[in-house]
Assembly symmetry: C2
Homo-oligomer: 475 residues x 2
Amino acid sequence: MNPSNMKNTNLYALILAGGVGSRFWPFSRELEPKQFMKIFGERSLLQDTIKRLQGIVNPKQVYIISNKSYFYEIKRQVEKFHILEGNIILEPEGKNTAPAIGLCARLIGRINPEAMLIVLPSDHCIKDVRKFRSCLLKAVKCALEGYLVTLGIRPREPALGYGYIKTLADRHKVTRSQGYYRVEKFLEKPSLEKAKKYAAGKNYFWNSGMFIWKADVFMAELKRYLPKLYSQLLSIESKDTIGKAWPQINSISVDYGIMERSQKIALVPADFDWTDLGSWDAVNDILPKDKKGNVIHADSMDLSSERICVFSRSNRLISTIGLKDLIIADTPDALLVCDRHRAQEVKKIVENLKSLNRKEHIMHLTDKRPWGSYTVLQIGGGFKIKLVEIAPGKRLSLQRHSKRAEHWVVVCGLARVTCGNTVKLVKSNESIYIPKGTKHRLENPASGKLQIVEVQTGNYLEEDDIERFEDDFNR
Amino acid sequence: MNPSNMKNTNLYALILAGGVGSRFWPFSRELEPKQFMKIFGERSLLQDTIKRLQGIVNPKQVYIISNKSYFYEIKRQVEKFHILEGNIILEPEGKNTAPAIGLCARLIGRINPEAMLIVLPSDHCIKDVRKFRSCLLKAVKCALEGYLVTLGIRPREPALGYGYIKTLADRHKVTRSQGYYRVEKFLEKPSLEKAKKYAAGKNYFWNSGMFIWKADVFMAELKRYLPKLYSQLLSIESKDTIGKAWPQINSISVDYGIMERSQKIALVPADFDWTDLGSWDAVNDILPKDKKGNVIHADSMDLSSERICVFSRSNRLISTIGLKDLIIADTPDALLVCDRHRAQEVKKIVENLKSLNRKEHIMHLTDKRPWGSYTVLQIGGGFKIKLVEIAPGKRLSLQRHSKRAEHWVVVCGLARVTCGNTVKLVKSNESIYIPKGTKHRLENPASGKLQIVEVQTGNYLEEDDIERFEDDFNR
């Protein structure tokens, strides 16, 4: 089979989008991880990943596997790429990469036994899309020969943050002429000493986490090396039965479970630019800088700083004086100021927040919901103020709060409000009161934006004071 | 006369509180300068200045001169010290120190021709109050002999930010035994070279700006060296006639106008600790530090930073990783991150803001008003959300807006609301609507706190859309 005419037939992409990468905190949060963030402009990393596949993989054959709590965000983000809602596969909980990839290989293999899978993380940055595509096609060729193909990155420096792959020395290579290597072994994240050795050697590569293989070849290797997982996956006939099998499945990475053991591994060198956006520092490497080496994505005012990165998701003015080699990331509820050589440690801050039972690592003050979003503007003694935006045609659940009343002032658009037994239209500059304990529903019946200011009053104002009676989103 | 029994008779204090010091931005703003800021805990710098005088000067003889736009803030801050409202002298506009001090010498001199003035800036930090007081009494003794006494600070380092005073060499000193020196000359802020020479010399002092003199001696020197100002001040009979004379008066500092020329200058060495809070860096010198030399006054989380200062007026979490020698000052609408050796340059940021016609140097998002305060929570297209607090017993003006309607939700306390021809009480968890163009008034008739959420709607939402009909504060 010739890869060039596979485009619309057997070629499938599987994008892994379940990560909760915490090193982009405070921009990334548990409920809004980095793959959904727009770091480089108009598109998120997930969207960039999808866009890179255009012209290679039919959008109907692009699958995304993720955590169920990200479903509506993914749906929103992939809409414009014509990816089918049915292609979003949801894990009830994260079980690492082997079960996730295995599940999709199983489901896609049932649809098309000849399926060829391109497995891609959703948080990489690759600028040279042309080279990326031609490299993929090379890898597909290799995978057609029955190999599990991994794309290897030539080390640019003795990085400590990556696993390495050692290929067989030249004399053992099988098909150099076709552009791929056989693999000798996978190596864990190294010490600095080892990393230096690896980076200097010709037959070491960074493990990119991008894989290409036939679904049936992968399943056969699963059967050999992870037979229990294999049989668990066989019990899954469709998306509907994932929930039943999943709790019994053990977490294991595809590197550890398959790649380090299989005898069918081949490596295709990635000859395109590639960055694993592992931390804020990586962003700094990628974005264009001013004359002083600064990357400023904020309303800012600087006096003679050098090599600083300023990112903002707030409206605040950020003024900087005489700084060097710093990362500043500002959000409405949390600020990070970090030596850029220590950006890896952001992860520790997130761990500390977790152990202190704080909230700043979980979600932003603006929380996205399937029907729109809300932003907490102020929390005071006995009251909470939110700005709520409801997307055109969307509505919240029919709900009731037992401990709070709500005052709604429509500031933009038109609302259809159910309050007890009445339904009425509330226009901009009108308000309505929802007494405590009254069933109510808020809807945007129009085609324009609806914004309301919600003033909650009561002694308990947490999100869990909600009883849902009907919901368009099955919550 | 013996200073110890002067306490309640001729001894007056004059606190200069008109400065708009911009080097504490973003905490200080044009409408909220540093003398009103609480940097060290419960009291502002102004309040600390007043408190240091307790037991020395009768509160009824403590005067404060400032800009008229600070009147209500000063009134609020001095209330608990039993300073008379009549003792707050307001300049229609700042004319530097000679007219300000002259005005008060004139007014106080008319009340008590024997008055002895202690002139103090309102933004100094002095911890050893006992030594400060005994130094003041020493200075009073000297001033009783007819001198204009200045308190001189022994240089701790070759500072560039102060003016210096050179005293006469030992053989010329008149009254060393009594603890004071005659002054040879005043020296402007020096170059580093000169500062080093001064700091090494025994007869150089920093000019602290604290003065002690008899009102009549000062007026006589004014008559001699600034005769025009003298006669302009004579035309002022009481506070009521300041406004008439003031516009014609020229700006001039007391250092330049009097101290550098008078032959009657004496210097009393200040043997107490003293810091002129000229910039954020000075605060760092004063406040207690943790083991790593950090001063953290914020909700913060740090990983191994050293010698950083973190100050916050926001609710935001401030996380810091591996920083050194930085100042971070965070407010809801502006953040400063600054090399602490360059804290002087904050002034330049403020100048830039001014020239760009921005607002972050003028006022905080929380704006203090004579009746309480308000905080802007959100500005959107066609709406603005404020949290408004009205002090017990206080009320806003009877007013009208021509371009906006207002929705008020009472979230704490009880409001008396005038809306058109009706007056009604609005309780917590109730709301009321003020249509565009309707006269209205908001009052807190109770003894507790009143908080309302105000949602403004309209196409023009600036503060200048207000027509006032009655106002308790003569605005």
